[in-house]
C-alpha cells in the first residue's frame, strides 16, 4: 500500500533584510566620528595658530605622563580583541566563551574609566586655564561619554546573550555593539596621537 501525500503549500521564505541594527549602528558611529573630526579640527587649528604665535599650547605646569596614556591605549587595544572574541565565539555557538569575553570587555571598559579619572587627577590641568584645557577636557570627556555608551550597548547585548537572544545564525546585536566599540577605540587612537603624543 502506498501512502498518498496531499500537496502541501510551503510557507513563503522570510524576507531577507539587511542587518537593521548594524546599519543603524553604522550611522551612529559615522555621526560620532564626525563630532570628533570637528573637535580635532578645532584643536589642531588653534594649536597650530598658538604655536605659530610663539606661545606655548599647554598651560605651564601641566603634566601628562605618557606611560599612563599608553596604559589607557593598551587597555582599549586589548578590549578590541576581546570584544571580537565575543562575536566570534557566538558565531561558533561557544556561548560560554562569548559570555566570558563580554564580561572581560566590560571590565576593561570600566578599567579605562578608572584610569582616565586617575589621569585627570594627576594632569594638573585646570579647565579654566584656556582654550587648550577646554578642548582637551571636551574631547577626552566626549570620548569617555562614547565609551560609556559603548559599555551600555555591550552590557545590554550581554544581557540579551544571557537570555538566549543570540545564536550562531543570529548575532547582529552583538556584532553591532562590537562595531561601535571598535569605532570608540579608533577615536581614542586619534586622541592618543593628536593630544597626548604630539602635545
Amino acid at each position: 500500500m502506498t501512502a498518498t501525500l496531499s500537496p502541501v503549500t510551503a510557507p513563503p521564505p522570510p524576507v531577507q533584510r539587511p542587518r537593521v541594527i548594524m546599519v543603524a549602528t553604522g550611522f551612529a558611529a559615522a555621526g560620532s566620528l564626525m563630532m570628533f573630526a570637528g573637535l580635532f579640527g578645532a584643536y589642531l587649528t588653534l594649536r597650530a595658530a598658538t604655536v605659530a604665535n610663539g606661545a606655548t599650547w599647554l598651560p605651564k605646569g601641566t603634566s601628562i605622563p605618557l606611560s599612563q596614556i599608553n596604559m589607557l591605549f593598551a587597555t582599549l587595544l586589548m578590549s578590541v580583541v576581546i570584544v571580537q572574541w565575543a562575536v566570534s565565539a557566538m558565531k561558533n555557538d561557544d556561548r560560554i566563551g562569548s559570555y566570558l569575553a563580554l564580561g572581560i570587555t566590560l571590565l576593561l571598559g570600566l578599567a579605562f574609566v578608572n584610569q582616565t579619572a586617575y589621569l585627570y587627577s594627576i594632569m594638573k590641568l585646570d579647565v579654566a586655564s584656556g582654550s587648550a584645557a577646554v578642548l582637551i577636557y571636551v574631547i577626552t570627556g566626549a570620548h569617555l561619554a562614547m565609551l560609556i555608551i559603548a559599555l551600555v550597548f555591550v552590557g545590554l547585548m550581554a544581557v540579551r546573550a544571557l537570555g538566549g537572544s543570540f545564536t550562531s545564525r543570529h548575532y547582529d546585536g552583538l556584532a553591532a555593539a562590537a562595531l561601535y566599540w571598535h569605532v570608540m577605540v579608533a577615536v581614542f587612537a586619534f586622541i592618543w596621537i593628536i593630544i597626548y603624543v604630539t602635545k
Binding site: 533584510r17 543603524a24 550611522f27 582654550s131 571636551v138
Partner: protein, 542 residues
C-alpha cells in the same frame, strides 16, 4: 520591545485604538507610550509647525529692529531674538517637520509595516519636545548667545544640543528604514524621490550636525567652567560666531534637501506619467546634498575661509544640481501634464526659491562683489553691533531666510500632497494654494534686500530695505498661519478619503487606506519598477 528592536510584524504594534477595546491604559497614556510611526509623525509635524510660526514671528521682529528709525525691541535683546529665530527655524521647525513627514510617509513608500526602531523615535520626539521647550524658556529668560544670565545661557546651549541629538537619533531611524525595510524588488534606485531625498538629507545631517553638537559642548564647558565667561569659545562675543556656520550657506541648503524629493514626487504623480529622467533627478538630489555639506566652512576657526577658492567654487557649484533637478522635472512636466494643484505649484515655487538662494550664496562667494564686507556701518549688522558682538554678514542671513522659507513651501506642498493620507480627511487645497504665494513672496522680500544691503551706503535706503525684509517675514508667517488653519479645517471635515485621492498614485503609499490601518498594508504588490502602481494598473506582472 527593546529600543534596539524593530518588529516587522504588524500584530505587535501598539495603537491607541487597541486600548479602547482591551481595557488597557487611557488614550493619553497610549499617546505617551506609543511607538506608532503615524502618531509620532503627526506629533513631530504639529509641534514643528507651532514652533515654526513662533520662529517666523521672531524673524520678522528681528528684521524690523534693523530699521534704526523704529525702536521696536530693546537693543540688547536683538541678538538673542535674532539667534532664537534662526535656531528655531532650523531645529524646532524645519528639520522636525520634515522628519515628521518622513516618519509617516517613508515606511509607506518603501512598503514597510513600521519605522525602524519605533521606540527610539518616540523617545527622541519627547526628548526633542522637552529640550526645545527648555531652550525657548532659557532664551526668553535672558539666555542664548550673548545672554545676560549665565545659568540661562548654559541651559540654552545644553537644551539646544540635546534637541539636536534627539533629531539625529530620529534621522538615523529614518535612514535605516529606507536602507533596510524596502519591500521585495525595491532597490535603492527604485525608492520614491521623497524617500531618496530623506536618505540623502539624514545622511548629511548625521555627518554635519554632530560637529555642531561638539561646538555646543565646547561653548557650554568653556562658559560654565571658564573664568570670566570663558576663553575662546564661551565668551559672549564669540558664542554665535562658533555655531554660525550651521546657519549659513552651504550648510543651510542641507535643511532643504527633502524639498527636492517632495517636489519630484508631486510633479511626477500629478503629471500622470513616469519620470523620464529618473537617474538625473536622483543624481541631482545626491549632488545637492553633497554640496550642502557645510561643516568645513567655519569662519570662527578659519577667518579667511570666505577668501578660500574652494569655498568660492563650492558655492557656485551649488547652483548646478538645482539646475539639473529643474531640467529633470521639466522632462516629467513635458511628458505628462501636471494638474495645477497646490502640491505642484508649491513644489515648483520651492525650487524657484532654492535656486534664488543658491544664486544668492554664489554671489556672496564671488569676492569682487564684496557682499561679505560692509560699505556702511549699518548693513552688515543683523545682530548686536551695539553690544560689540560678532555679526554675521547680512547676505548670509538673507540667503538663510530664502532657503528656509523655500523649504517651508515644500513642506506645505508635502502637506497638500499627502495631507489626505495623513489625516484621512480631504485636505484644503485652497489653504495651501494661498499659503504658497505668501511664502514665496515672503522668501523673496525677506532675503533679497539683505543679500545686497551691505553695499548700500544711503542710510534711508538701508532702513527701507529693512522694512521690506520685515514685511517678507510677515508674509511668510501669514503663509504658515494659513496652512495651519487649513490643516485644522481639514481635520474638522467629515468626509473620508479613498486610498488614492489623486487617482494617479504611482508609489506604494497610495495602495493603502487613508490613514493606513495597523501594519500599513494587507498585501503588497511585487515591485518591478519605480512606479509599482502604474505597472499594476497597466496589467504588467506585479
Amino acid at each position: 520591545m527593546a529600543t534596539t528592536d524593530t518588529s516587522i510584524a504588524p500584530s505587535v504594534e501598539l495603537h491607541a485604538s487597541d486600548h479602547a477595546t482591551s481595557g488597557a491604559p487611557a488614550p493619553i497614556v497610549s499617546l505617551f507610550g506609543t511607538g506608532d510611526h503615524k502618531i509620532m509623525g503627526r506629533l513631530f509635524m504639529s509641534f514643528g509647525m507651532i514652533f515654526g510660526m513662533l520662529s517666523m514671528a521672531l524673524l520678522a521682529a528681528t528684521a524690523v529692529s534693523q530699521n534704526r528709525t523704529i525702536t521696536f525691541i530693546k537693543s540688547d535683546w536683538v541678538s538673542q531674538i535674532s539667534t532664537l529665530s534662526r535656531v528655531g527655524l532650523v531645529f524646532f521647525f524645519l528639520i522636525p517637520f520634515f522628519l515628521g513627514l518622513a516618519i509617516y510617509i517613508v515606511p509607506l513608500q518603501v512598503g514597510a509595516a513600521t519605522i525602524a526602531f519605533p521606540r527610539a523615535v518616540a523617545a527622541s520626539f519627547w526628548t526633542w519636545l522637552v529640550s526645545t521647550g527648555m531652550a525657548i524658556v532659557a532664551w526668553m529668560a535672558n539666555g542664548g548667545p550673548a545672554g545676560g544670565s549665565a545659568q540661562m545661557v548654559d541651559l540654552s546651549f545644553f537644551a539646544t544640543g540635546v534637541a539636536i541629538v534627539a533629531l539625529l537619533v530620529t534621522s538615523m531611524c529614518v535612514a535605516t528604514t529606507v536602507i533596510t525595510f524596502r519591500t521585495a524588488g525595491m532597490g535603492l534606485d527604485r525608492v520614491p524621490f521623497f524617500s531618496w531625498s530623506m536618505v540623502v538629507a539624514t545622511g548629511i545631517w548625521l555627518l554635519t550636525l554632530p560637529v555642531l553638537v561638539g561646538h555646543l559642548v565646547l561653548i557650554y564647558v568653556d562658559h560654565h567652567y571658564g573664568v570670566d565667561g570663558g576663553s575662546q569659545f564661551g565668551k559672549a562675543t564669540t558664542q554665535w560666531q562658533i555655531v554660525s556656520w550651521a546657519f549659513a550657506a552651504p550648510q543651510v541648503f542641507a535643511y532643504a534637501i527633502p524639498a527636492l524629493g517632495i517636489t519630484a514626487d508631486a510633479v511626477t504623480t500629478l503629471g500622470k506619467a513616469r519620470m523620464p529622467q529618473r537617474g538625473i533627478v536622483l543624481t541631482a538630489l545626491g549632488a545637492f546634498g553633497a554640496l550642502s555639506f557645510g561643516a568645513w566652512v567655519q569662519p570662527a576657526l578659519y577667518p579667511k575661509v570666505y577668501n578660500n577658492w574652494t569655498f568660492v567654487v563650492w558655492s557656485v557649484a551649488l547652483v548646478l544640481p538645482v539646475l539639473l533637478f529643474i531640467g529633470g522635472i521639466t522632462g516629467a512636466m513635458r511628458k505628462g501634464k501636471p494638474s495645477v494643484a497646490a502640491p505642484v505649484i508649491g513644489g515648483l515655487a520651492s525650487i524657484i526659491g532654492l535656486l534664488l538662494g543658491a544664486v544668492g550664496a554664489a554671489l556672496f562667494a564671488v569676492r569682487p562683489l564684496k557682499l561679505h564686507e560692509a560699505a556702511n556701518e549699518y548693513a552688515p549688522v543683523v545682530q548686536g553691533l551695539q553690544t560689540g558682538h560678532w555679526y554675521q554678514p547680512a547676505a548670509q542671513v538673507g540667503v538663510f531666510g530664502i532657503v528656509v522659507i523655500s523649504a517651508a513651501i515644500a513642506g506645505v506642498a508635502g502637506l497638500a500632497y499627502w495631507g489626505a493620507k495623513i489625516t484621512g480627511k480631504p485636505f484644503s487645497n485652497g489653504a495651501a494654494s494661498l499659503a504658497v504665494p505668501l511664502l514665496l513672496l515672503g522668501a523673496v522680500l525677506y532675503g533679497a534686500p539683505l543679500v545686497g544691503i551691505a553695499r548700500v551706503t544711503d542710510e534711508s535706503l538701508v532702513n527701507t530695505l529693512s522694512l521690506v525684509s520685515a514685511a517678507g517675514a510677515v508674509f511668510a508667517l501669514l503663509g504658515l498661519v494659513v496652512v495651519s488653519l487649513g490643516v485644522v479645517g481639514s481635520l474638522a471635515g467629515k468626509a473620508d478619503v479613498a486610498k488614492d485621492p489623486w487617482n494617479v498614485g504611482q508609489t506604494l503609499e497610495w495602495d493603502t487606506t487613508s490613514p493606513p490601518e495597523r501594519g500599513n498594508f494587507a498585501t503588497l504588490p511585487v515591485v518591478t519598477s519605480a512606479e509599482p502602481l502604474l505597472d499594476r494598473d497597466n496589467g504588467n506582472p506585479s
